[in-house]
């Protein structure tokens, strides 16, 4: 690579870094600024993340939602996709269509439709924010599907399953001991993306009146902007760490033969 090209690439990278870092640094600056016109720094906004009752509850709700959504997605989607691939490949188009459907419908439209269902859900299961899990599993389907589908395509699932069966493995054994370990990266990726999506989801939660972290941040923004910004930055950092961890995993997986 010539010096000029290297310089150009470096400049572009620096520009991008600035573009991403500037708002984050501004958030950090703003959230630690002392009250009013006073000079100096304060950690009060960040301390509020743990002291403010509502905010803490919202953080816990969001983290639990992320966990439940990721687990429910894995439990539902992984066996279904493996089974479809092995036993009913004809249905794969239909499954793909169904899984990608949420992507094509605006969140607002889904919420309007789902609101009626949720009046029943809250009636039957109580009004805990965790009932959002149902809606979120649908929301993350397209992304999770892509990740798992790519992993499944990378291994010869059919032959591996047949080899395992001929050696005496039943279907459960085939899925758990042979296929799952070979698509683990994809499943993990799907889970991480689900977590990141759930932590940032606002439209569903807000319109269905559940107090999740993004909803609480928006609310706080009107009364205590600094704490709201601190919470946003914290959740951004958390999601970034997850996604960076994900790309790290991808880079370090064994290259296929």
């Amino acid at each position: 690579m010539s010096g000029a090209a290297r310089l150009g690439r470096g400049a572009a990278l620096a520009l991008f870094a600035l573009y991403f870092a500037l708002p984050l640094l501004s958030m950090l600056d703003f959230s630690t600024r002392a009250k009013g016109d006073a000079v100096g720094r304060t950690g009060q906004a960040w301390a509020n993340l743990f002291q403010d009752e509502d905010l803490r509850a919202a953080i816990i709700t969001s983290l639990l939602l992320a966990l439940f959504t990721a687990v429910a997605m894995v439990v539902l989607l992984v066996p279904t996709m493996i089974w479809v691939r092995l036993r009913v490949p004809k249905a794969s188009r239909l499954i793909e269509f169904l899984c990608l459907l949420p992507l094509t419908i605006p969140a607002l439209v889904i919420v309007v439709g789902i609101a009626n269902v949720y009046s029943w859900v809250t009636y039957l299961l109580g009004d805990s924010g965790l009932t959002l899990t149902f809606a979120y599993v649908v929301l993350v389907l397209p992304y999770a599907y892509r990740s798992i589908d790519t992993a499944l395509s990378a291994v010869d699932v059919g032959t591996l399953a047949e080899a395992a069966r001929s050696l005496g493995a039943g279907w459960v054994r085939v899925i758990v001991s042979v296929i799952l370990p070979n698509i683990a990266q994809g499943v993990l990726g799907a889970a991480f993306v689900s977590v990141a999506l759930v932590l940032g989801e606002y439209v569903f939660a807000s319109l269905l009146h559940f107090d999740t972290l993004p909803v609480e941040i928006a609310l706080l923004g009107k009364s205590d902007a600094k704490t709201a910004v601190a919470a946003s930055l914290a959740s951004l950092i958390f999601a970034s760490v997850l996604l960076i961890g994900l790309s790290f995993l991808h880079r370090h997986r064994r290259s296929p033969s």
Binding site: A163, S166, G168
Partner: protein, 355 residues
């Protein structure tokens, strides 16, 4: 219950019997009333073009496909409805099928783990099997660190580790390059003789089938055209299809009377299955044809192909028959297109069919 107990007590394996097995895919008959009996300890190769039903037959025996009708017996026991994982068979696939997340040794021990044997027993058996296939030192490696040939060896070790009732080889050499293919082919035969497991070997490569099998079954359109020891199949093909599939053939006009065919002026015995009298087409092997330079010969050379130890010479007779002769290259030296040659047919028996 499985039939494992029976296999471990005998060295000679179990008999396999396909009884009028049919398999329909929609309107297509992949197998059409297939009848095939394999003796205990025997290695039978199923040979045929793609789509002839050979792989379907093997998969039905493995339990990976289901017969539309008919019965499969192993050791006299009806296993037609037994699921694949209860059949205790060992299978090697055409595609590489080692579990990528396990080491070579763990791959070989996989079936043993399912059968609940202790980890010491598993490790010992895995090592024994890897020694058998010549990979004793490779147990701790992963599949993606091995060559194609090594992977298929491990697959063979894995299939044999569970002491299978029947060993199933589904074109195990097709993905390998020529040199490894020949080497591994001979090794499969050596190992099969050593362990004595009844084996079904499916291939589309006639040389491979003839080289390893006790008997070769040639399949066409879902049926077994002929099953015989390699030499018999080669020398006495039962049908034009078999004759053409097992070796390259010249079709030369011939006249038959009382069991003797007259081909290009030579008298040659007509084998069983030939027409009994009248004119027809004789199927003459290239190695039964020889050519020699002769100014007065009744044929001329079209082309000469040099293949190392042998050469193939294409000639056209003045009567219009096109023939291929296969000769030691030393005899083909000096032949060139347009040369006049004399064509002679060796008196080996030929199949003559109605033309």
């Amino acid at each position: 219950m499985t039939v494992a107990a029976a296999s471990s007590s005998t060295d000679r394996g179990l008999a396999v019997h396909f009884q009028s097995i049919s398999r329909l895919y929609g309107a297509t008959r992949a197998l059409d009333e297939l009848e095939l009996a394999i003796e205990p300890g025997e290695l039978v190769a199923l040979l045929g073009p793609s789509g002839c039903g050979k792989t379907t037959a093997l998969r039905i025996l493995a339990g990976l496909d289901t017969a539309t009708s008919g019965t499969v017996l192993v050791g006299g026991r009806d296993i037609t409805r037994v699921p694949a994982n209860k059949r205790d068979m060992g299978m090697v696939f055409q595609a590489y099928s080692l579990f990528p997340h396990l080491t070579v040794a763990d791959n070989v021990a996989f079936g043993l783990r399912l059968r609940g044997s202790s980890s010491t027993a598993r490790r010992a058996r895995a090592r024994e099997m890897l020694e058998l296939v010549g990979l004793g030192q490779q147990g701790s490696r992963y599949a993606n660190e091995l060559s194609g040939g090594q992977q298929q060896r491990v697959a063979l070790a894995r299939a044999l580790a569970v002491e299978p009732t029947v060993l199933l080889l589904d074109e195990p050499l097709s993905a390998l390059d020529a040199k490894v293919r020949v080497q591994l082919r001979d090794e499969i035969r050596r190992i099969q003789l050593e362990v004595g497991t009844t084996t079904l070997f499916v291939t589309h490569d006639q040389e491979e089938a003839l080289a390893v099998a006790d008997r070769v079954g040639v399949m066409n359109a879902g049926r077994l055209e002929q099953i015989a020891p390699p030499a018999e199949l080669y020398e006495r093909p039962a049908s034009p299809f078999v004759a053409e599939f097992v070796g390259l053939h010249n079709k030369v006009s011939a006249v038959v009377s009382s069991g003797v065919a007259t081909v290009l002026g030579a008298s040659v015995p007509a084998i069983q299955g030939s027409i009994t009298s009248g004119s027809g087409v004789a199927m003459v092997r290239p190695e039964s044809v020889s050519v020699a330079p002769s100014e007065t010969g009744a044929a001329s050379v079209v082309s000469v192909g040099f293949l190392g130890p042998i050469s193939r010479v294409h000639v056209v007779t003045d009567a219009g028959d096109t023939l291929m002769a296969q000769l030691p290259s030393s005899l083909a030296v000096g032949l060139a297109p347009q040369d006049r040659v004399e064509v002679t047919i060796a008196p080996t028996p030929v199949l003559v069919v109605a033309g």
